[in-house]
Symmetry: C2
Subunit: 304 residues, 2 copies
């Protein structure tokens, strides 16, 4: 058992940002390689409009491949009830529903008001099989590219509405822009955990765009969070910002937690090999530090 649970979101959040279509076999190979490093939770793909995100048009095949890996908890992201239905039909049992606290961001992301998305959530919960699990990803939980800083009370109000309808299995608060600072991460989690004791699982989704991916993850850890999203090789970059990095790199989190004596269940050296493979994908925008640092091999990694 690991002391911290890292959810590898590269196959969804990462691949989605890559322009050139990655062959399905290559995606499956990476998924299997990640599994071999010890990864046991993955955001495998997203059921979305093929026209909007052609890179993820192979969602059913990817889900099928993920389900063959024994003990792998493969979640898939769905933005609407219609896509949730598609995912469930394809065999998905762990859904991730995404909505934004920011009206403007939600509109731009899923062409719905936040209230409409909350209704979609209720509809999806009604169609979820008995054995199914639902995670909610709260986008712009701290900060919005359009509206700037969001106050904890705005995010708590959206959570209140969602939880009032139906209790999800897990809630992830997402720093969509990478602009949150550790004090804000701490403040929101502390309040949310206190206000909603019925939520069993809380997760934090960090971006490293402003260099605070690990610092914010540490702040969430200190607030009691034990589930963290991360993307192998830091794959993610924002399509609107060439050169800007996206998700915090999985290898950076594994490095930090293992160094703190917190077991992640993931073999860092094996993960670095996958990270180098992923970083070599045409069109990949990568981030993180540990990959480069370990590549130099100047320093014997004697941490004992």
């Amino acid at each position: 058992m690991s002391d911290v649970q890292i959810v590898e979101v590269g196959p969804r959040d990462g691949f989605q940002s890559v322009g050139p279509i990655i062959p399905t076999e290559k995606k499956v190979e990476i998924l299997q390689a990640l599994y071999a490093t010890g990864v046991r939770r993955v955001e495998a793909t997203s059921f979305v409009s093929k026209a909007a995100v052609p890179q993820l048009a192979d969602a059913p095949e990817i889900l099928m491949a993920a389900d063959k890996l024994d003990g792998l908890d493969a979640q898939v992201l769905v933005p609407t009830a219609r896509q949730a239905e598609r995912a469930i039909t394809a065999g998905a049992r762990h859904l991730v529903f995404v909505l934004s606290v920011s009206e403007q961001h939600n509109m731009s992301n899923v062409r719905r008001s936040t209230t409409e998305s909350i209704d979609e959530y209720a509809a999806i919960m009604r169609m979820l099989p008995q054995s199914g699990k639902m995670r909610i990803n709260i986008a712009t939980a701290f900060d919005c590219p359009f509206e700037g800083r969001l106050e904890p009370k705005q995010t708590l109000s959206v959570l209140q509405q969602l939880i009032g309808l139906e209790t999800p299995h897990e809630i992830a608060l997402c720093d969509t822009t990478g602009r949150v600072t550790p004090d804000h991460v701490d403040a929101l989690f502390v309040e949310a955990l206190e206000k909603f004791p019925e939520i069993q699982n809380w997760a934090f989704h960090a971006h490293d765009t402003y260099g605070l991916g690990t610092a914010n993850t540490l702040a969430a850890w200190n607030s009691g969070i034990r589930i963290f999203d991360a993307s192998v090789a830091g794959l993610g970059g924002c399509p609107f910002a060439p050169g800007a990095t996206g998700n915090v790199a999985t290898e950076d989190l594994v490095w930090m937690f293992e160094g703190m004596g917190v077991s992640s269940g993931i073999d860092l050296n094996a993960l670095l090999a996958v990270a180098r493979d992923v970083a070599a994908l045409p069109g990949a925008q990568t981030g993180g530090r540990v990959r480069d640092a370990m590549a130099q091999k100047l320093i014997t990694p004697n941490r004992s």
Copy 2:
């Protein structure tokens, strides 16, 4: 008054790592530009063997230029009593003496045993003018490139020996390799602050090589530390590791602290202009994220 004190070490730790000699006038221009952003503490240069570090052969001129900037606290690094004498003769009143906890690192850095360096410290304290201030930089306080992890008790023992001789004005614990994790930063500072209440000022010197520059700084902040070294544009890179980043970037720390409502006294936008200039120096190895993120301008930095 700022709530956090950032010591800009780019002109010493950063420049020292740059191969091509930076003209003295350019160094002075950067120093003045940093001052104009609000920087009030700087590690201006180092008095070292010109043969060993030709880049810093202009130490006396740099010190003279720094002293012309009203209210700027310009410290200079000295590795030996002989160089301290040179610095004092040149007018230096704020010295930084560096020694390593690790015998092997100290030998490789200054060709002396740690015990010999402690004797040098005593000799320097005797020659320090009444108005002078002494900072001690404890290199490899957490981790050594040769010996790996160093236990807090090893570092505390060296501190005990130094403080037993004479109380310095300030002590900086330095993560020389960038491999320390936040738990270790916290553990050592908590113990050091408790054990040596006579030390008025403690500082932390972070490297970002493994992506933990901001996370470790946050850990030290949470342990009560209020003085942090950082290098503009993350200038620093290790000469033995092309591509590996060095010091945590000043702009990343300013971004983090200001976002936390902690005033640094430094104007971020003005600093970013200097950071871009520094990053353009031939041979510069840079780091940090905020410089790239802000260059994209995709996100209106509305943080209010």
